[in-house]
Amino acid sequence: MLFFFFVFSFIVIISSLSVVFSSNPVHSVLFLIFTFFNTAVIFLLFNAEFLAMTLIIVYVGAVAVLFLFVVMMLNINDSLMKEGFLKYFPFGLLLICIFFGELYMIFESNVFITPSDIRISISELVDGGMDNTKSIGLFLYTDYFIVFQISGFLLLLAMIGAIVLAHNEKINTRYNSPIDQKILNKKDVIKLN
């Protein structure tokens, strides 16, 4: 198990680095999809089957497609993106060093929760014969009801936002709306003799 974890997390790290460093944005998206797949495998290794499948369906199936659209839409010029990279590189490196230093300090002290402290222990539920999806279902719609509803509103807002920002109400094409034709009164029509 641990062996597989290390293999797949190594692949995740390499492929996510490739997302950042590959010069062609389309390649970046493809590497991103590869990263998603490997992350899904890591989720599987920890018995989080639902998350793994969600990652594949939502992220690979929908989000990555959207990313491809955006890459196509933006028409990114590769050479312009590289500009300024060297200028900011030392600063970025410094930030990375600080960040990893902090992480090292945190994980060196080795204080992690024991499973008994957790409010809802998924692993206990899974051991008790529930599968992962079911144990999520047991809590998401009851105990975590309000959080679930807020996420519903988030989706609704995303819908409104997409329409506000991307939908053109003015129709410039020569298109006859069937509804307009249906509600047309006889007296409004010009008769051609």
Binding site: M1, G61, L66, N75, Y141, T142, Q149, M159, I163
Partner: protein
């Protein structure tokens, strides 16, 4: 975990096969490059402009609406699996969630965001 072993075996075989096929064709195949062969092929003409043309924003709208409904369906899965255990409250909670998103759906329908003209 055991039930995923076939997938692992499948991945390993796919990897061996694809890497093998590629490397064999590189190693064994005959290579003859000449300028005509390497030039871009597009119905016999030189390409007019960049292949990465701009999309219209309409496609983006459809894609993002697809993601939203995709997520809505994802939320239905655990609900369906745990349907008998969560009782009336869980049922109503999902109904409210669906009502919220259906109002959004009606809104976008009436706005004409789903029309394609």
């Amino acid at each position: 975990m055991i039930e995923y072993i076939p997938i692992l075996v499948f991945i390993v075989f796919a990897l061996i096969f694809s890497v093998g096929a590629f490397s064999l064709s590189i190693l064994v195949g005959k290579k003859a490059y000449y300028p005509e062969k390497m030039s871009t092929y597009e119905c016999g003409f030189e390409p007019f402009d960049e292949s990465r043309g701009k999309f219209e924003v309409k496609f983006y709208l459809v894609a993002i609406l697809f993601i939203i409904f995709d997520l809505e369906i994802i939320f239905l899965f655990p609900w369906a699996v745990a349907f008998y255990e969560i009782g009336l409250f869980g049922y109503l909670s999902m109904i409210f969630f669906l009502v919220v998103l259906t109002i959004g759906f009606v809104y976008e329908w009436l706005k004409g965001a789903l029309d394609w003209n």
